[in-house]
Amino acid sequence: MKTKRIVTILLLLCLVITSMPLTVPTALAEDDDEWYTYTYSYWKEETASPNAYSVTNTLYGMDIDPEIGNLNNPKGLFCIGNLLFICDTGNNRIIEAYKDEEDGLYKLSRIIYQVNVSTTVADAMQYGDKVDNTLFQPTDIFVKPMTEELRRSYGDYLGDPYIYPEDDSATEQGGDAEPTPTEEPKEDAADETETGDSGESGDGGESGEGGEATPTPTPVPQQGPKKDNVVRKQLDNEMYDLFIADKEHKRVIHCDYNLNVINVVKNPVDDTLPKNYEFKPNKIVADNALRVYAQADGINSGLMEFDQKGEFTGYVGASKVVVSLARKIWRKLQTRAQRNRSTQFVPTEYNNLSLDSKGFIYATISAVDEQDLWAGTATPIRKLNAMGSDILIRNGNSFPIGDLAWSSKLPSVRGASKFTDVIAFENETYACLDMTRGKIFVYDFQGNLLYAFGGIGFTRGRFSQAIAMDNLDEETILVLDTTRGTITEFSMTRYGKMINEALQLYKTGYYDESAKVWNEILQFNGNFELAYVGIGRALLRQEQYKEAMGYFESAHDIENYSKAFQKYREEVVEKYIFYAILALVALIFIPKIIRKIIKVRREIKEA
């Protein structure tokens, strides 16, 4: 009997042990044959989603124009209007292309090897012992649309160096440094654009010229018609100013669209910087006040900020160093030698930044501790306001950190997501590019993951080392793969557009209309929890509390469920309070009355 008992107990134990769930994180969508686009559920599980973006084009340098050849280790990408700038870092050039709206193809407009230097900025353009107007491994370009007003209002700050077109050839000086053969046609071409800009505004007769764009290797005849096209596009009010991070020349060049240098940011001087500090800007943006923010090598106290004159004014978005109590105690216990040997508390280093339409800086940090990511204390994406503090909203089920599950063991998954680029859209959604997995994560303004897609691989829409991206318009994303030298164009599908529409309707206060769209989205993707919340909110406003509770429960939205439940409870209580009071009164008085009757009867009997 006793042995039987023991055996049963052991068997039960066995059962317990075998059925303990293994806590190894798994990442389902890593395999190529699994789904492509996914979201995370409340339980932080990857759930399949319809494609929000589809690959519409993959471009090598040659596909844009044979003249370009192959891109060599390109690092930066910038889109504005229909223009596309590629920093072909390894070839020391910047390629400017445009998307032809008629046939949807990308075409070359020019290749930038050097800039035009005037006498006033010649000193600033000095590199080594001579004026150097070439680019040396440019890593990033930022283009700022300038209006005449803007240029005039900052004219005082800029001082005299801005050279108007007619002065251009007169003050030309940079050419003496390197008389390369490609230089001359470039400058001629630049002059051509200017004349085109001012004179031929009403001229629509370029169709014949556009037709003659045969793939001839000589650059000069090709650039004429192509440039006209570009000029026509930006004719009315916009003049673009270019900010080029000329990394190995240790400067940021600010020039106008015709490459006349206006200003140069170089050699920042400050007490916080080391004596022999070499300014190597990687990524730059310029805000509406023409302040330049740069992410530079070896700077870990935030983004460097420069004023309109190019003077270093300080850091923005320095991360606070928080030392845990345990760490402090541990340091107290260490010897001096150990303390020196142990890692310093270094704040994190930004690796990319971009500007949204309202002037906030979105910045990414790739050097984050995986432990911090698990704990939710790391912030690989930040939205910085003018004060430099992080104002990104993180109300989602999980923080915007990319993939939520990773392991160091599986060969296909290599640690946590490392963001290398971020772009903010008009509607405050933002997309982040994860280099470790070649994935793009798109979050809404509340920090909910809308969808993630991409991956490492050789098929369309997968990358080997995605390094930069930008959005050509609100529905087209371009991603630059640095090792392959390709640009992949993603276009938004109907599903993605519906999500944007629903978000937009909700944000502008059309709750019922947004619920309709969310309902349609559910037809595509029943796993999309955000849609349930959207419908639930609309129902809540329509005072259909019971139904709203159901939707919120599907999405595990406790906050809103509680709100709906509170209203529902009020409704129920109001409905039944009369009966409840009646029942209570009955409960109290009926037994008393019965007792009284019995008593009276007994008295009658006895009497």
Partner: protein
């Protein structure tokens, strides 16, 4: 049939049923007068194993019902991964290991309690968890998220109370001083870890041994062909 019914009726009027009711009711006395209560539980035989089993089963049911019926605002159960057996054993197996470990330790530390007495004391200590936990399940369904903290705090309170009662049970059943009781509990917890380790080791070795013979058998089959 009539005989059977009368037998049942007889049981409910019998002495053992009355004793069961009395010992079960005694749980209320124990949780309010722990020192006195646990002393009498074993020394005066005012508790019974039947009542202890009842409380254990109720505790398991409370836990299961809590997972099943508590409002989803306070209940983060993932139904696709919920196993009723795992949750049941999640209470019963630690209880068994605890009683075993405590019995082993206190035998060496001049404890007066026997195995079943330790079990009885521990089971009686679960009473607050049951009598607070069950109403809290109902309460959780009529409160909002903000009011839901009551649910949390009352449940924590119940667990603290139960924990305190287990300490009292150890002190009284084994006739220990406070310090000795605390030491015994700590060693028991270490003992629980050791037991789990040994069981795991045993099963892994067992499976290795089985695998050895299986492969031996396969090898022989292979050679014979």
């Amino acid at each position: 049939m009539k005989k059977f019914l009368s037998a049942i009726a007889g049981f409910f009027h019998g002495e053992s049923w009355a004793n069961y009711k009395k010992t079960l009711r005694y749980a209320f006395y124990v949780i309010l007068h722990p020192f006195d209560g646990f002393w009498d539980l074993t020394h005066e035989k005012r508790g019974s194993l039947a009542a202890a089993n009842t409380i254990t089963i109720l505790a398991v049911l409370t836990h299961l019902w809590d997972r099943r019926f508590a409002n989803f605002m306070v209940n983060n159960t993932r139904w696709s991964e919920f196993s009723i057996w795992l949750n049941t054993l999640g209470i019963l197996v630690p209880l068994l290991i605890w009683v075993t470990a405590n019995w082993c330790v206190t035998t060496l530390m001049d404890g007066k309690g026997r195995f079943l007495q330790i079990y009885m004391g521990t089971a009686y200590a679960f009473t607050p968890y049951v009598i607070i936990g069950l109403p809290m399940i109902l309460l959780s369904n009529v409160v909002t998220k903000e009011e839901g903290v009551f649910y949390t705090y009352f449940n924590i309170f119940a667990l603290v109370w139960s924990g305190f009662l287990i300490l009292c049970a150890v002190l009284m059943i084994h006739d220990y001083s406070l310090l000795k009781g605390l030491v015994a509990i700590i060693i028991s917890i270490v003992g629980m870890a050791v037991i789990m380790f040994v069981v795991l080791l045993f099963f892994s070795l067992l499976s290795d041994a089985v695998m050895y013979f299986v492969s031996l058998y396969k090898e022989i089959l292979f050679r014979m062909e």
